[in-house]
Amino acid sequence: MRVALSGITVRFGALTAVDNASLAIEPGEIHAVVGENGAGKTTLMNVLFGLVEPEAGTISLDGEEMHWASPQEAIRHGLGMVHQHFMLQESMTVLENVVLCAEPVGRFGFIDFAAARRRLAEVADEHGIAMELDRPVGRLSVGERQVVEVLKMLYREAEVLILDEPTSVLTPLEKDRLFATLRSFRSAGKAIVLITHKLDEVMELADRVSVMRAGRLVRSGPLSATSKEEIARGIIGGELPPARQRTARAPGKEVLAVRDLKVAGRGGTVGPLSLSVCAGEIVGIAGVSGNGQAELIQAITGLASLLSGEIVLCGRPIGHLDVEDRRLIGMSYIPEDRQRMGLALGATVSENANAGRDERAAYTRGPFLNRAAMAGFARQLIERYRIRVGGPAALASTMSGGNKQKLVVGRELARDTPLVIAENPTWGVDIGAIDFIHGELMRMRDEGHAVLLVSTELDEVLALSDRILVMYSGAFAGEVAGAEADRERIGGMMTSRAAAALPEVA
């Protein structure tokens, strides 16, 4: 099936998310759509899938113009989309999830699960996918859940498959197998759209590439007619920042020590975990998300209580202390979820900047707030961290993702604590902000702070860390020195069961 989008424009309030974009998707091709976060890739695909109604422009399938009233209509016409955040019911089994909303009805109006099972086994077999159909989705790893999403599309006989950032949750091996599966779809004549911001994946897999920047489609054409450098320039609209130089530095004394820590996790107990972070080093924790990193960080920051074990910060045991006390002893925390944990979006920039600030006398007069001092502090952060926002009185929700993250990073790093915990600090922010945040973390390290970095982006961990710990299934699978780390070795330690669900790479 041939898909053509022409002249699509989408506006959210004053923001033009997609500006007059036209795109053709051919059967038997893998079409990569690349661009920074907020460039409009996902919005454009949401239009195609019927989730967003465009202000202008048309969608046509095989030359016939279409108007979707809902995604269900798009699905009926052979479109399928795997969203970045999976749409699965955790308490239901794989089979139940796959047939949901497309149940084969048997006699007397009951669901004919046997027929569904037969059909599903057929399509899975055709592309070499192996998956136990009766396991509840809640017990699957993130990679396996993605396979379920892919199965869902196959079951619905989608001819056009849209995958939004599919590799962000996969280990390198899982990624290879997913790509093999996608190639098999391509040979079967399906059209595949891959939304990504990783250029290596584009070079490896795509037949055609479209680059988006600030809502516009800046270029579109066969991969063979372009180069990686040209695509990168198209994405950022200029030259790439130079690679970061790191100075060798002997680590100082131990700032954070975790010994035999056990925490309750969703899938079972996490741990026992032991690690230490010294002054002047960045310790990176690599791993696919959902392998216990979140639980470990919650236990260290005091957001979750420990089952057993010991946490020592600056020589003081802190396992029994609350969040406030731990922060006062010397801990800053850049949470992964800036929308909920990092910021109060309904509050102003100034209110966000001053929440949890240590020297209370600096922004209060007795029980009252000193609004001028609060705004002054917010202005300092805005200038020092180059945050683009209307001013201290603007609502936090009016900032872009990158600027929100800079505000969180600024607020936490300005506290100048011995320990800095950064959890996926550059998740979903643009290249400029990533570079800036990496620079700030390196600066903290060079100034003698201990930095604990948790990231699911292997490149980020490799670029910043002095030592790398790999987490898998609630435990550390191994430790590698930053200098001698290579992707394959770490990738091997990140291996999970999901790899077995997709066929071997031929």
Binding site: G38, V323, E324, A344, R360, L369, S397, G401
Partner: protein, 356 residues
């Protein structure tokens, strides 16, 4: 930008006009059904909400406003902090009951008895609210459930106390004895309106000042906007929860004391429950969102609707049930307008953000 704002304002004005037209149309139909003259009924409504000989009806409206606005302020303090304390009724009853008992039992000069009784009522309200907070923090009963369920025991405890140990048997009613006349709140000169309203004005001013200028109010609002954020940046969430609930309950208790010393001068079984002061207060807060200064005005609106509708029944011959339906229709349309405007404005704000 300017043109856009003017456009929005024009649209807002039109939608209000449409809402008012709907209200008029529905009321007209209702009155046509019961055969009441429209003009008379409308006049009766306004007369009974705001008029009367020497503005006596306006005084009745204001007296009711005091109680509704007081409960609304109490609820607003909790809601703003993200605490869904819907146990205002229980806290109100605790306050009213303790106020009456303290005034009946305490010896001493009237001013001392009055002051001590009001303070005791505030303590009782705070204590009842704290109980719900402790149940949430240490037993794991969600506040929404705990605060609601705590309404019932105190209601029946109060019924028992005025039905048995403290009953004014001679009156033949289920009520306590009158509190000493010297402790009654005086009327404003030349009116039949007691000065209880001043306490509520003070509580409202306190709530506005607290919400906008204090560190505690700031922290409470952060917790209300995002509890995860408040926890992550190390705000003392437990302490905030308990202190805010105590404050909220104390104001409910104060309202109970005012009902005793200003209006009924005794505790009558059901006097604080049947008029649904606490629930009207919750609706009054939901109507205007968490905007502190608008909350008392919202309370006035609800009180006026209620007294006006009651008056329509008295002087224009509109049956009580139809008057109640009209009251509901007015509230429904105004509420949908107000919350529609609030939703639209929050969507505009969200639209400016581009975090996908």
């Amino acid at each position: 930008m300017n043109g856009m704002r003017e456009g929005t304002m024009a649209r807002e004005a039109i939608s209000w006009a449409v809402a008012l037209a709907w209200i008029a149309a529905v009321l007209f139909i209702l009155m046509a059904l019961v055969g009441a003259p429209f003009g008379d009924a409308l006049a009766a409504f306004l007369q009974n909400a705001f008029g009367g000989r020497r503005f006596s009806y306006l005084m009745a409206t204001l007296s009711r406003t005091a109680l509704i606005a007081g409960m609304a302020v109490s609820v607003m303090l909790s809601f703003r902090a993200g605490l869904f304390n819907i146990g205002g009724e229980g806290q109100l009853v605790a306050g009213g009951l303790v106020a009456a008992l303290a005034a009946l039992l305490l010896p001493g000069p009237p001013l001392f008895v009055l002051t001590a009784s009001i303070l005791a009522a505030m303590l009782a309200g705070a204590g009842w609210a704290l109980l719900a907070g402790v149940m949430q923090l240490y037993v794991g009963v969600p506040l929404l459930v705990g605060s609601l369920l705590l309404n019932y025991p105190i209601r029946y405890i109060a019924s028992y106390i005025v039905a048995h140990p403290f009953r004014d048997v001679q009156s033949g009613m289920v009520q306590s004895h009158l509190v000493p006349q010297a402790t009654w709140l005086p009327y404003f000169p030349g009116t039949r309106l007691d000065i209880g309203l001043l306490f509520i004005v003070a509580a409202s001013v306190f709530a506005v000042v607290y919400s906008r200028t204090t560190v505690h109010g700031y922290h409470a609002r952060m917790n209300g906007l995002s509890p995860a954020f408040a926890r992550t940046v190390g705000l003392p969430v437990r302490k905030l929860t308990l202190q805010t609930l105590a404050m909220s309950g104390a104001i409910a208790g104060l309202v109970g004391a005012i009902a005793v010393f200003g209006i009924h001068h005794r505790y009558i079984d059901g006097m604080l429950v049947q008029p649904l002061y606490a629930w009207t207060g919750i609706i009054a807060v939901l109507l205007v969102g968490m905007i502190p200064w608008a909350v008392p005005l919202s309370g006035l609106f609800f009180a006026a609707i209620q007294t006006g509708a009651a008056g329509m029944e008295r002087s224009a011959g509109v049956p009580k049930e139809i008057a109640l339906v009209m009251q509901a229709v007015i509230i429904l349309f105004v509420a949908s307008r107000v919350s529609g405007a609030l939703v639209a404005s929050s969507e505009r704000k969200a639209g400016a953000a581009d975090d996908a």
